[in-house]
């Protein structure tokens, strides 16, 4: 057995001792072995490594140490610091990813343009409008960024409860009133913290819902807004203060009959 292996095995047997103490002991053992004549049978001269370590412990009065504190003290301080820093960074990264994954700052901003001929819903909040195939449909809401960071608004996903065909329009940023500025066709835009704008659904009533029988209806209680934040895209379901109910007196099959 060469000296390096012997020292390494003794160090392993002393692995519970504080790092600096172990380093000093091992250094001294290393120095001692270097003084021995070349070719010395270390195990015969000094005993096997675990016996040497045991004898060293007995002579020095070093009991075997257990527990978390002993485990930490046995580590090299620099490595403990590096490990703590690495774990902290990993924890922060995990926390940041979790936070980013849950970040959703978009909200209803309080402004609503109800459809023509709508009337307050009976017995519930919001308004109701009767579906009239081919007639103009225009409905607008304001959204705002209530968070502290800019997000990119990507669009409004197509829903199975859509009942119109047409375009999605939008106002300029910071438009509080719908008639202040002309609308433009929707395109993805960055929404800064505190800003708000109108989104307007403009088209004609059309049968896209697949509702076949008469007397049924659908209600928009939320509007889905697709948005992007850093690497993540998600759909925010924005609750409406005034849900929009659409009734279909004659039904509205999605396929032409």
């Amino acid at each position: 057995m060469i000296a390096e292996d012997y020292v390494r095995m003794v160090a392993f047997e002393l692995r519970d001792l504080p790092w600096k103490m172990r380093r000093d002991l091992v250094s001294e053992i290393q120095g001692h072995l270097d003084e021995l004549p070349a070719g010395t049978d270390l195990s015969a001269q000094l005993g096997r490594p675990h016996e040497y370590a045991s004898e060293l412990r007995d002579a020095a009065g070093l009991e075997r140490r257990r527990g978390l504190i002993a485990f930490l003290r046995a580590r090299r301080p620099r490595n403990v610091v590096l490990t703590v820093v690495a774990l902290t960074l990993i924890g922060l990264a995990i926390g940041a990813v979790a936070w980013i994954d849950s970040y959703q700052p978009l909200a209803f901003a309080g402004g609503t343009q109800e459809p023509l001929d709508s009337r307050p819903s009976i017995g519930q909040a919001g308004v109701t409008v009767v579906f009239r195939k081919g007639h103009p449909f225009e409905y607008g809401i304001t959204i705002q960024n209530t968070g502290r960071l800019t997000v990119r608004v990507l669009g409004v996903p197509t829903s199975v409860t859509n009942f119109y065909v047409g375009r999605l329009l939008m106002s300029k940023d910071q438009t509080g009133r719908l008639d202040e500025l002309p609308l433009e066709r929707f395109h993805p835009f960055d929404m800064k913290p505190g800003s708000f704008r109108w989104l307007v659904f403009k088209g004609v009533y059309a049968c896209t819902t697949g509702i076949g029988g008469g007397g049924v209806g659908v209600t928009w209680e939320t509007i889905g807004i697709r948005f992007g934040f850093l690497w993540r895209t998600a759909t925010a379901a924005i609750p409406l203060d005034d849900p929009l109910a659409i009734t279909f007196p004659k039904g509205c099959p999605s396929r032409p009959q």
């Binding site: 120095g31 005993g47 060293l56 007995d58 020095a60």
Partner: protein, 91 residues
């Protein structure tokens, strides 16, 4: 150990060689280093590292005033015990 180191600053291997030369053949290497550690922790020894031509730096030990007192006390005890034993074993 204190008696050996009290002769002058020395290091582990030399201490062991001195002990063996004095007839302490059975003293284990690990016992010497373990005892050095314990005496240093108790404040009876002080140490310094010095460069060596034969490998890593050597750790040289010297006796502190506390160690000198401990040596004197141990020597007195040993002399007393040895004297008593001699009286007992002499025909």
């Amino acid at each position: 150990m204190l008696a050996v180191i009290a002769r002058g600053e020395t290091y582990g291997y030399e201490i062991l060689s001195t002990l063996e030369g004095a007839g302490f053949d059975g003293v284990g290497d690990a016992s010497v280093y373990g005892t050095l550690r314990r005496l240093e922790q108790a404040g009876h020894l002080e140490s310094r590292l010095a460069a060596s031509n034969n490998g890593p730096a050597r750790k040289y030990y010297a006796v502190t005033p506390s160690g000198t007192e401990q040596l004197r006390s141990g020597t007195d005890s040993w002399t007393r015990i040895n004297g008593a034993l001699e009286k007992l074993v002499q025909p």
